[in-house]
């Protein structure tokens, strides 16, 4: 079964923010809301690493667990979505999320003041697929067009991978084997649990 996942290869991410603007333009996300962002660690010194972060669509999503009005659902393909109509903007999901994914616009049209917004894996939300309403509230629904998230598809160095977890883990594993390092996939175990043996990306190499 396809389980949609994101994986960012820190050995390749150059912090060009292509994923960020790809998301912005694909979903027409307003100023101030960052569904995706790139975080750099050890900035400006040897060991500098960048990672692109958005909602990781966790297997056991903490946001879902804490939501007082139960607006979250996980689709069969493993994408965590929510119904904005029901969202009360309380912000609990933000506190629960280990990745800082939930965003809260300060003002908005369409009666959505303060409602939580986050990455949808370019899968829209609970409105008619590819309808005006869906686009207005949630952005693009690329999965319903047979495409993958714009951020991953447009990544400058193909560092950010998005798609069926098995497929992208394979892509990553081949790469990691080839270079003999960079086996650590940041955030993977937090979002999806510990990788099993079959999915362990690379046998050798420690922290990259």
């Amino acid at each position: 079964m396809a389980r949609m996942k994101f994986l960012c290869d820190a050995e390749r991410c150059i912090e060009c923010n292509g994923c960020v603007t790809a998301c912005k333009q694909e979903n027409e996300v307003p100023w101030g809301v960052n569904r995706r962002r790139v975080v750099t660690l050890n900035d400006g010194v040897p060991g500098e690493k960048s990672i692109s972060v958005a909602c990781m669509h966790c297997s056991d999503a903490p946001c879902m667990a804490v939501c007082p009005v139960d607006v979250f659902y996980r689709t069969e393909e493993g994408v965590v979505l929510h119904d904005k109509d029901m969202c009360i903007g309380c912000g609990y999901c933000f506190y629960a999320c280990p990745f800082g994914a939930p965003q809260f616009p300060q003002a908005g049209a369409f009666g959505m003041r303060g409602k939580m917004d986050k990455c949808t894996f370019c899968a829209g939300g609970p409105e008619k697929d590819n309808s005006k309403e869906e686009f207005a509230k949630y952005g693009s629904n690329r999965l319903a067009q047979g495409k993958l998230p714009a951020c991953a598809e447009m990544c400058a160095t193909k560092a950010l991978l998005g798609g069926d977890g098995d497929v992208i883990a394979d892509i990553f594993r081949d790469r990691a084997l080839k270079r003999g390092k960079g086996a650590e996939v940041w955030g993977w175990s937090t979002a999806y649990g510990k990788p099993d043996k079959a999915q362990q990306p690379a046998p050798k190499g420690g922290k990259s």
């Binding site: 056991d60 119904d83 029901m86 697929d129 999965l143 047979g146 598809e153 069926d164 992208i168 510990k194």
Partner: protein
């Protein structure tokens, strides 16, 4: 990779969705654990006619999840430059 608890959740979710799929409706309630999700129903991506959106590029058979999955899997390989370049 899946803990026992999560596995149970996943199985539960599967069971419910499988049940709903049997109703033959186009709009499906996507289920969170214990069926607590309070929001509006959503459609599964593969339930769409591929041509329903003018922006569609991939091909699958409406309602056939596995054909949709395989379309996406092959599209995923665009993220793997080794396929195009070779080693």
């Amino acid at each position: 990779m899946i803990s026992a608890r999560k596995l149970a959740v996943a199985v539960a979710a599967l069971a419910v969705t499988a049940g709903l799929a049997g109703c033959g409706e186009t709009e499906q309630v996507i289920v969170y654990e214990q069926g607590k999700y309070q929001g509006k129903p959503d459609t599964r991506p593969w339930e769409n006619e591929p041509g329903a959106s003018l922006y569609t590029t991939s091909k699958w058979a409406k309602g056939d999840k596995s054909s949709w999955e395989s379309a996406l899997r092959s599209r995923s390989q665009n993220q793997n430059e080794y396929v195009r370049i070779g080693d």
